[in-house]
Amino acid sequence: MKRFQFELTDTETKVLNTLASRGAMSPSQVAAETWILPGDMRTMLQEMSSAGFVVLREDSNSPDGWLVAITNNARGFVNGSNGKR
């Protein structure tokens, strides 16, 4: 399983936990669930997507036009099976 070269902040961990427990959702929904502001959310998700924690893709049915889902590796990471640092 992939090891992440990325130090997660508490807020990022909260985002991953939300996605792991609630499933795929729009970035705006994640922001509302975690009380993160939409601008910060977008930047954070892009960084987490580059690091392989989440998949961020366009979704025409979503009110903000995007969909975010946790990756399998990150799910393992969140659940502690990937040796959480």
Partner: protein
């Protein structure tokens, strides 16, 4: 939306056939064992004798036919590993199974007509195993060294069966493809968002108890590839819907569709997707209000300072995000903090 999932004509046919066989077997058994007393009609004794004789003659053919049919079923199940149940319910599956039954019975008739009498056990072994093996075997008499099939001298005793079985398999595959397409189209209709489909597919994979940890990881990996940002949205949705069908089966898809059509608040529907009412509310808030309007609405709806402050900050102009994203975030936030019911009453 009151559409119901109707059973296929093939499944109704199979049930009627099974019922008839059970009924017939019951009548035969009752007639065979019924005690013929003095009060019984005069025709009962001879009739029972004839029936017993007829049963004795017919039984070997029934046994052989049953084994032939069983081999046909096994052949179909091994060919259509992903959809064995659905494959067996197609019309051509029954044609193939019936052909196997008839071929086995014909083989027993030919055996009896061409050889001296032998025990039923011997006949059973020859027909049930020997004949079934021969019609599925190609005997290569000579083969050129280093060449493929071109240089072979072979006798294919089962050529006719091969042709028929290939035709049946093609027809079953076409029928299944048609059914799969219908199921996928309906899934896409009732679960139109990528998020809903993704969550259902994820649940379907993780809920399967027969998958090993490796198989589960492999399937989750396949699912992740399907939502890859490079994949076109419609392709991603269709592929995920097909994945749900392949992993959950037709009955599970029917259950999902049934619940989406009739009971949107049931466990599967809510576990897999948020109620459609929430989506409508979010759309109404996003389309009907600008950012300032949403801030004003929040201040009207709640006195909670933390909520008011979050909405105030979320509505600030920010080059890192879009207005649609800001409005959608506030809309989700309001539903979460104030409740969908309260909001829908106000809107």
């Amino acid at each position: 939306m009151t559409e119901n999932i109707a059973p296929t004509s093939a499944s109704i046919g199979a049930k009627i056939l099974l019922l008839l066989v059970i009924l017939l077997s019951f009548v035969v058994v009752v007639l065979l064992v019924w005690p013929v007393g003095p009060a019984a009609p005069t025709w009962m004794g001879p009739f029972q004798g004839d029936l017993r004789h007829f049963t004795a003659v017919l039984a070997p053919f029934l046994v052989i036919g049953f084994v032939g049919g069983l081999i046909g079923v096994a052949e179909l199940v091994s060919t259509f590993k992903t959809y064995p149940r659905e494959a067996l319910l197609t019309r051509w599956a029954w044609v193939l199974i019936f052909a196997n039954v008839l071929a086995a019975i014909a083989a027993l008739l030919i055996l009896r007509a061409t050889t001296s009498p032998m025990s039923f056990l011997m006949e059973f072994l020859i027909v049930a195993f020997g004949f079934q093996g021969i019609i599925r075997t190609r005997f290569v008499l000579a083969k050129q060294v280093g060449s493929d099939k071109d240089g072979e001298v072979a006798i294919n005793l089962g050529w006719l069966y091969d042709q028929f079985s290939n035709l049946a398999r093609r027809q079953i595959d076409l029928e299944l493809m048609n059914n799969r397409r219908t199921a996928v189209t309906r899934l896409l209709h009732y679960y139109p968002t990528l998020a809903e489909l993704y969550d259902i597919a994820l649940y379907t994979i993780t809920a399967r108890e027969t998958l090993t940890a490796e198989e589960e990881q492999q399937k989750l990996g396949e699912l992740e590839k399907l939502i890859d940002p490079k994949a076109p949205e419609h392709f991603a949705k269709t592929s995920i819907a097909l994945m749900i069908l392949e992993n959950g089966g037709q009955s599970y898809v029917n259950l999902l569709l049934d619940q989406a059509m009739n009971q949107p608040g049931t466990a599967v529907a809510t576990a897999a997707a948020p109620p459609a009412r929430q989506d409508t509310l979010i759309r109404r808030l996003v389309d009907g209000y600008d950012l300032e309007g949403l801030v004003t609405l929040t201040n009207q709806l709640t006195d909670d300072e933390a909520v008011q402050e979050y909405v105030q900050l979320a509505a600030q102009p920010n080059p890192a995000t879009s207005q649609a994203e800001q409005k959608a975030t506030i809309a989700h936030f309001l539903i979460q903090q104030i409740g969908a019911d309260a909001l829908s009453r106000i809107l």
